[in-house]
Symmetry: C2
Subunit: 196 residues, 2 copies
DNA sequence: GCGACAACTTGACACTGACAAGATTGCCCG
DNA sequence: CGGGCAATCTTGTCAGTGTCAAGTTGTCGC
């Protein structure tokens, strides 16, 4: 009795509701606001209204939680890349993903925080790599360019832009323009120079 | 008595020797190996053979220590960029800096870990920005290209390449080649296309 | 030599991640 | 329908951490 469980959502597998999801999204909030180092399992438990050891049951570890976030991020990113029409558009989607899911993005590319041998993570990561390769190979190759190297170039450009953007290092340069639009013109400048 | 202080180095201001430097370099080791989140002030104190609160006297905070590292990193980077002969060479120096000082690099671009209003940091950071702008402006501009945008492009490319490299995301693509050489050919591919 | 100051120590407190052991709940199978 | 059973969650505990406050020691100028 006295269980005012307020089951507004129809889906509610067991005791608490979807605790795993609740902790995940609370974690994403914290990371987006204050970075992964500010993440505390006990704080997440408090926010979800459960005891301090509850999160461990779903994620085992702090590392486990972060690994789950990274895997989810790769799933989201690979899905986004699938929608790209060409290489430049893939870059735009990459930047958009970083802006819409900054916490995922940051965790995905901070290997010290992750369980590198995690199965879910490695498969999700492989899928992303596949989508990237595909986006590069779809592009009509200029004669004499190594496609692998072109892939590294494109990835570096998009990743660097996204990273600097999230770190507020481009605030002055971008101003009030749409970052995606800036990136688009930027790729146009590099990949199809005025002389062509 | 019983003070076997082993003063091999002539410079040794006071009690311990250069404790500040000792803690800094120990911190750099830890960060390079296991990332900033694995950093523990007490562990650093242990390594230096001092009590657990000693580091606080030199850096006040964990944040203070990381801020000092970031400032030092910017000093090193701006010095490296000063030696660059042209824009491409600046990129090469940028990548080299990231490889030779991975701990500095990582901390410099993780704003959540830093005291953003620190004077030493902001001035050091401004110097780096200056060097970057200078490297861009030294380049002969193609007609009709916004120099600011070109700067963002160049920085994004170098930063993305360096970041992905440190995160071991380019291991397969680079193989046993020299990363700096890969970066050089990569910039050649983008900034002066075969059609020119 | 003495006073003041910087460098360091000692002690304490609240917080954290992790582990172990117990309690509770929903579910499945008979 | 009911009894076990496994998944979910709680409680208790431990070592380790950052940070603050107060004391101690060495050093240098006067």
């Amino acid at each position: 009795m006295t269980m005012e469980t307020a089951k507004t959502t129809p889906e509610r597998p067991y005791h608490h509701g979807d605790l795993r999801r609740a902790i995940l999204s609370a974690a994403l909030d914290v990371i987006a606001a204050e970075g992964p180092s500010a993440l505390s399992l006990r704080d997440l438990a408090r926010r979800a209204g459960v005891s301090h050891a509850a999160p461990a049951h779903h994620f085992k570890d702090r590392t486990g939680l972060l690994t789950a976030i990274a895997a989810e991020g790769h799933a989201l990113l690979s899905a986004a890349l699938t929608e790209a029409t060409d290489l430049r558009d893939a870059g735009v989607h990459y930047v958009r993903f970083a802006r819409e899911h900054p916490a995922h993005f940051q965790v995905m590319f901070t290997p010290e925080l992750l369980r590198e041998n995690d199965l879910e993570l490695t498969t999700a990561r492989a899928l992303t790599a596949d989508r990237l390769r595909q986006a590069v190979s779809d592009r009509v190759p200029e004669p004499g360019t190594d496609p692998r190297l072109a892939g590294v170039a494109a990835w570096s450009l998009a990743h660097g832009f996204a990273t600097l953007l999230l770190g507020h290092n481009l605030d002055a340069a971008v101003g009030d323009q749409d970052p995606e639009e800036v990136f688009r013109t930027l790729t146009g400048m590099l990949f199809q120079p005025p002389s062509a």
